[in-house]
Symmetry: D2
Subunit: 264 residues, 4 copies
Amino acid sequence: VTDSPTLGTSLGTSTADSITVQGYDLCNELIGKVDFGDMAFLLVAGRLPAPAESTMFNAVLVTLADHGLTPIALAARLTYTGAPESLQGALASGLLGAGNVFLGIVDGAARMLQEGVERAADSSDAALRQAAQTAVSDFRQRRAPIPGLGHPIHRPEDPRTTRLYALAEEVELLGPHLRLLRYIADETRAQLGKALPINAAGTCGAIVSDLGFHWSIARGFALVSRSAGLVGHLWEETQRPIGRAIWELAEREVPYVQPERNEG
Amino acid sequence: VTDSPTLGTSLGTSTADSITVQGYDLCNELIGKVDFGDMAFLLVAGRLPAPAESTMFNAVLVTLADHGLTPIALAARLTYTGAPESLQGALASGLLGAGNVFLGIVDGAARMLQEGVERAADSSDAALRQAAQTAVSDFRQRRAPIPGLGHPIHRPEDPRTTRLYALAEEVELLGPHLRLLRYIADETRAQLGKALPINAAGTCGAIVSDLGFHWSIARGFALVSRSAGLVGHLWEETQRPIGRAIWELAEREVPYVQPERNEG
Amino acid sequence: VTDSPTLGTSLGTSTADSITVQGYDLCNELIGKVDFGDMAFLLVAGRLPAPAESTMFNAVLVTLADHGLTPIALAARLTYTGAPESLQGALASGLLGAGNVFLGIVDGAARMLQEGVERAADSSDAALRQAAQTAVSDFRQRRAPIPGLGHPIHRPEDPRTTRLYALAEEVELLGPHLRLLRYIADETRAQLGKALPINAAGTCGAIVSDLGFHWSIARGFALVSRSAGLVGHLWEETQRPIGRAIWELAEREVPYVQPERNEG
Amino acid sequence: VTDSPTLGTSLGTSTADSITVQGYDLCNELIGKVDFGDMAFLLVAGRLPAPAESTMFNAVLVTLADHGLTPIALAARLTYTGAPESLQGALASGLLGAGNVFLGIVDGAARMLQEGVERAADSSDAALRQAAQTAVSDFRQRRAPIPGLGHPIHRPEDPRTTRLYALAEEVELLGPHLRLLRYIADETRAQLGKALPINAAGTCGAIVSDLGFHWSIARGFALVSRSAGLVGHLWEETQRPIGRAIWELAEREVPYVQPERNEG
């Protein structure tokens, strides 16, 4: 297309005896040398992670992979009940529910934190505390919930958050976004008079921000991670199905309501 | 549901201060301790892989993640062009094309190999060679292509296959399915009089079979792997879009054909 | 693409002041002149239906549109719960479950009937009865269920089938596929000694066959039809949500099962 | 679920010899009596349309069904290339691109018009003109494009718009939303000094608003409509495929770009 001089892709190219992905020789530099978490990092970042980065990035993917019978898992399983001929269809059906309400907290938090760090004069404690104050006031003024805070079950702390912060400290990657998130939790407690736990999705949003990813792609990593969980659910569905039982439950518990006849 | 005594899930459960996934404590046993490839293994197998298994399983996920502008990647990017509000939608749209024609070779090969190994008296060379002969004759009789053999670009060898077999030997996991696949390639050359390369999808199907997974879930790992590639494409699409250019190309190259008016 | 001389589409083309779809002028020949059922017919058949054909085709689309809380509807609603930002995602999630198990009966029956009619010497009663005998014996030999027969609730008759057959007679479109399906039901009763009702999906497969559509696209019309039902469910979900209640039900009724720890 | 006393659905329920949908007896009141457009109306509105309403609603569905090789159609076809085993998957893949950029104009326009009509003191010309002025100023101030105005090909008028307005006048359903849209076009020309055509998507958004539907479900009707177009594309793809040609075009026209090696 002559009028689009910038058309191009770095994702991959092939010759008869080689495949190149993001500038790396797939067979000689990647297969057997990097784990799949590193590969997912490379495919977006265009570079391989350093060892500490690999630890944190893999930890994010492990954290978000699954935790049971979520709406996403139920949708995938119900889809499999009707269309067992297409594993990709059942997986896609589940991923489609990984939207703003649940996994979207990852990119919502990443966005808030990236805007906050950008706004801060520097990454000193004082500057980040100031950015936290601004962020919390801003969300409260818009009466919007602060992404990454609060959890229906994990209180007063989300154990994944505790673990991820400890790990970041251990590998010396407790960056400005993770630090800002903690200040935002502190500031929220101060302004609201009650403590809300930092949840795992928020923490993961902070980590991928510290790893240099733009907030708009943060959800992508949550989706890759959750696809592994959904494959686990679909395998379990073939062995110990629940799809038809959920259907029966729904039919039993949700009555038909006769609408008023209102002729056109 | 009282009449379904076997309803149950092992995928996950939560208490206020813990999450358990497939019997493992997420925070203390998994996050920061296993890589994401191992997590994907656990979510289906219900156990963590041994180190050599982890090497091979991660190698499969790295191998299948991406290699450029496939139909799958194009579909995801075109979907993003029209619906940038939903990253999960664009990813799902791409995964839906990971069907029988391309990624389906992974489970097609896995099925052929698992049926062959089961049919073989034991896993001796002689027994596997015999199983290979039976399999090739069977596919030829049904005039069906042998899954895992042949490639439009990678000839006479698929470099990923070479690398994966070397790796399997290195970590001492060259199991009966990988071996059978090689005998099937030999037998095909003998019966057809021409050599077809073992392709990467077929090799990956053999590896997950040697790792103990049922062929019917093999495609699931290909989907997890490819989801990372698609997220890479979608990030690139935000930075250097090609969706509209593909659209223009299609409109330019595919003419409108006036159908014969054939009144009902 | 020089080596594909047959590239082309009849779906549509535009100039500054006209749009042409399948050879028809959209603005002057279709909008306000044909109903949407006719439009769906045209888009596949490349011609408009005659009045009696329009009646039967619309009847099929009306029949299959919805009947309550199916697995498909539940999946769409659960997806909406997590991703209310994307109506197209929730709809797509639901449609993905319209596979071989439920809506696939439409094309399964259409295939059986088209193969039967083709096999029959002519469309006389005797020839169709013979074709029915062959078809039933064939399915019984393969121990496969006969598509289009049987229903868990609608016994001894599916009221939709009764209505559709009466309508076909009324508009004089009781063609060989509808007739063959009735002979197949008779023959099944004779061979099995018990009556199975002809279900609505099977009847719809027969009707689209009589209308001249290939069995492989029959499911497409079921999908168009069901998309209207799913949009109804999604609108209801915004007004009177059940997604979270289904989730709670599932969590309450499906216990976590601790797997045996089986170290790698 | 005892704490959700309002759980319920009006979509459908069944007994052995009847199916009820939105309060109507499917077999006796709908099949053979209403066309599929009316059925789609009923499934959301909970009532059947009056004759003039049926005309306008069917006209919307006919208008939006298809017009050629859009990104949506290309995605569906590319998905079919890789996964011909799942028609529902290819359809879903295409629908996922029916997002904010293209079909979203329908609900964007509907929203603007419903907010405008609500804001207007009454539906007199003067009040609507005033609402138009407010709306245009508001969009210009936010530097947002006015949904429903402008078209890359159809200038100075979109012929579908001309036809739909004439039809509305003919059946006496030129309601306040259609009228307001025309005032908004006038006001835009006055403020910008250049004329933008009212496009078909905007007009359809106005019509469904005049029919009483909430803007948030307007996209749903566009999706039902487009699903018929996509089934047309998929049938054509089985007869005269373009998927592989598009893939080759993309590979030929989009070069691989070697990224700078930037070690982690």
